[in-house]
């Protein structure tokens, strides 16, 4: 009996000393490619820090967006690290004190040792850093080189050239523009870029901050341009029936010509199409407006109720490191946030050059706008795409919502 107890005791001791500290990461990287890349990254972390065991819980993107808030607001935390977006969507939580400021990470080092100074403000709230960027990417008009070659099309630079390309594609039985709006954020991409090209960055920032009325005549112009594409039937028919990935299959199959999308479209492209994909900068509409682009930043934050904050900090320090950022960027062809990491491939180099050559960047409609406004706004864009004739009443309604939401 004593022997038995002794064994039990030894086993118990062994277990408690060997038991690794758990870090729970809730992630929205549900597409196979990023999911795999992130899992490999975590393995590297576990090898480097054997005291920790990282548990990744992956959620479908849209589910994640809904669930995150319930996790953060819970009286007892269930995750140590969560993936999220920089900008307003992060600040929304920071303002309510639901996420942890990350000073600890930058005690011995400066922000600028890791990341570009220009990223600092989108990752901070009230001068405190709350967000560790992992990767960022650009939005561009994606197309298949072989399809463009087949019809002798060159990358358009102006709106008129762009319309010509659409016309050529349409004449040849190819849907000019693919899009899938079952979840409405894809439409927000179009809204953003048209507004940036027509009204410029400052106006756009003011709008997403809720300072410009939605029935402003300048904004109406955005919808007039958008409407040209709709009225001419350039957009993929029944786009509201498809999710963005399903919309992309039309492009991959050569049934659609172009897709205004973020770099992550490559994540879902079949391998035989991947190298055939290329992109160009969204065409110029008003030459007097400088070129602005959209460059969303993805990364991580620590919930204020995280059970293992210490581990979370260690993990995020690792995420910020050159090694980790390089690996992730390379696997997915994205741009790393870390300043020391160079673009992983030619495609990324081209993207980076496009961004460097632009006069300023925005995040994305639903990252720059208050979440409640974003939900109403994006749904209104879809409604407009289906009923372009109703634009003024749709915008009037949006304006009412803006007044209600920002009057709080």
């Amino acid at each position: 009996m004593r022997k038995f107890l002794l064994i039990c005791f030894v086993v118990l001791i062994a277990l408690t000393t060997l038991a690794k500290e758990k870090i729970i990461v809730n992630s929205y990287m549900s597409d196979p490619a990023p999911r795999k890349a992130f899992a490999e990254l975590v393995k590297i972390f576990e090898q480097k820090y054997p005291d920790y065991e990282v548990v990744i819980n992956t959620f479908a993107h849209e589910d994640f967006k809904t669930l995150l808030r319930t996790w953060l607001a819970a009286p007892k935390g269930t995750a140590d690290v969560v993936t999220w977006f920089a900008g307003e969507r992060m600040r929304y939580f920071a303002e309510m004190g639901l996420i942890t400021p990350l000073e600890e990470i930058f005690q011995t080092t400066k922000w600028e040792d890791y990341f570009p100074a220009s990223f600092k403000s989108t990752c901070s709230y009230n001068d405190k850093i709350y967000f560790i960027p992992q990767s960022w990417y650009w939005w561009g008009v994606y197309y298949r080189k072989s399809v463009f070659d087949k019809f002798g099309i060159r990358e358009p630079r102006t709106w008129d050239e762009f319309l010509n390309v659409c016309e050529t594609l349409k004449r040849n039985g190819v849907v000019p523009i693919a899009i899938g709006t079952k979840f409405p954020w894809t439409a927000a991409g179009w809204f953003d870029i048209l507004n940036l090209r027509i009204n410029g960055l400052e106006y756009h920032i003011n709008l997403t901050a809720g300072k410009v009325p939605y029935n402003d005549p300048k904004l109406l112009k955005v919808f007039e341009y958008w409407r040209q594409l709709i009225d001419k039937g350039y957009l993929l028919p029944n786009h509201a029936a498809y999710e963005w990935q399903e919309g992309a299959t039309f492009l991959f199959r050569g049934q659609a010509g172009m897709y205004y999308m973020g770099q992550f479209i490559k994540d879902v492209a079949p391998s035989e199409v991947k190298d055939d994909l290329d992109f160009f900068r969204f065409p110029i509409i008003d030459p007097s407006v400088p070129l602005y682009e959209e460059t969303p930043i993805d990364g991580f934050m620590i919930p204020a109720n995280a059970p293992n904050k210490k581990g979370a900090i260690v993990f995020l320090k690792f995420i910020a490191s050159k090694e980790a950022q390089e690996k992730f960027a390379k696997d997915l062809g994205r741009l790393a946030a870390n300043v020391e990491v160079t673009p992983p491939d030619d495609h990324a180099k081209k993207g980076l050059e496009m961004i460097v050559a632009s006069s300023g960047v925005a995040q994305f409609y639903d990252r720059d706008t208050n979440p409640e406004m974003a939900e109403v706004g994006m749904n209104a864009f879809i409604e407009f795409m289906q009923n372009p004739g109703k634009v003024s009443s749709i915008l009037d309604r949006l304006e009412q919502e803006r007044k209600r939401i920002y009057s709080k």
Binding site: E62, K65, T66, R69, T70, L72, A73, M96, L98, T181, K182, F183, P184, P237, N238, H239, A240, A241, P371, E372, E375, V376, N379, A380, I382, E383, Q386, R397
Partner: protein, 290 residues
């Protein structure tokens, strides 16, 4: 026999206790939240009837309510007659009737997630089976974007739900048919009543209790509609297929308006309650008769 008074409560203690924690208490909480402005994170703010006032002017809520009514009409007008026809047909005991029945019942064993997925393929605009069928018989104009046209999307969802609902109603009627007295039917045959007459004057009146239950159940189900909508369209495009339950979910969990969402749930509860009471009265009355 004195302890008798306490015995039923002892038996009820455990089930009632669990039920109170997970069902009754949350219902009360929802009532309270419906009078507040709350984002689920910061402190609740009491706002009285403001949420309910806003509901009246909220177009999308009106639209959701209207869609619930469409569901109700669709359920009652389609699943009742079709369920009855199916039941009458398969109640004839020809060899193999059991196999036919099992196959029709099959959808009832499926999760809404599976049903939603399968039906989004059936209704897929380019390669979906419905549109392929219409195109192949030369009715191109009938090939519609079933799930993205705001005018028809609700009907498409109802169709998917009926796939499961009709067999259910059929079961209710089959049970009712068991109670139709054979003698009465045979007497009618001897009297020379034609099949249609027999149906209208003998069988249908005998099915009255089953009919009442089926209609009430259909109404309650249509008011609670959620899963199919959530899985197939999430209420889109732009709320055009939204129903109350779905709109509540969107407001509470997407838009962070817990108080407003709760007020939608309360209204939905109020409307449903009327039919729940109707149902209960029916059940209790039936018992008294027996």
């Amino acid at each position: 026999m004195k302890r008798n008074k306490l015995t039923p409560y002892l038996f009820l203690a455990a089930p009632l206790c669990m039920y109170s924690i997970w069902v009754i208490y949350p219902i009360f909480q929802t009532f309270i939240v419906s009078f507040t402005k709350w984002d689920g994170m910061t402190k609740m703010k009491f706002v009285g009837l403001e949420n309910f006032q806003r509901l009246i002017t909220d177009n999308y809520f009106g639209l959701s309510l209207l869609n619930n009514i469409k569901w109700m009409v669709g359920f009652v007008l389609l699943s009742i007659p079709l369920g009855l026809i199916f039941a009458m047909l398969m109640d004839q005991k020809f060899p193999g009737h059991k196999i036919f029945k099992s196959l029709v019942y099959l959808p009832m064993a499926l999760s809404f997630v599976v049903i939603g997925q399968i039906w989004s393929w059936v209704l897929e605009p380019t390669g979906g089976i419905v549109n392929t069928f219409f195109r192949s018989i030369g009715l191109e104009q009938l090939a519609k974007p079933w799930l993205s046209d705001p005018k028809i999307v609700t009907y498409s969802l109802i169709a998917a739900a009926l796939w499961r609902q009709i067999p259910y109603v059929m079961i209710l009627f089959l049970a009712g048919l068991k109670n139709v007295s054979r003698e009465l039917v045979e007497a009618a045959i001897v009297d020379g009543a034609k099949a249609t007459q027999r149906f209208w004057y003998v069988i249908l009146p005998a099915l009255r209790p089953a009919m009442v239950i089926a209609i009430t159940v259909n109404i309650i189900d249509s008011l609670r509609a959620f899963d199919i909508v959530f899985v197939m369209t999430r209420g889109g495009p732009f709320y055009s297929s939204s129903v109350m339950a779905n709109y509540m979910y969107v407001q509470a969990f997407h838009n962070y308006r817990m108080g407003y969402g709760a007020s939608i749930a309360v209204v939905q509860f109020g409307i449903t309650l009327g039919f729940i009471i109707m149902y209960l009265l029916n059940v209790l009355k039936k018992e008294e008769r027996e």
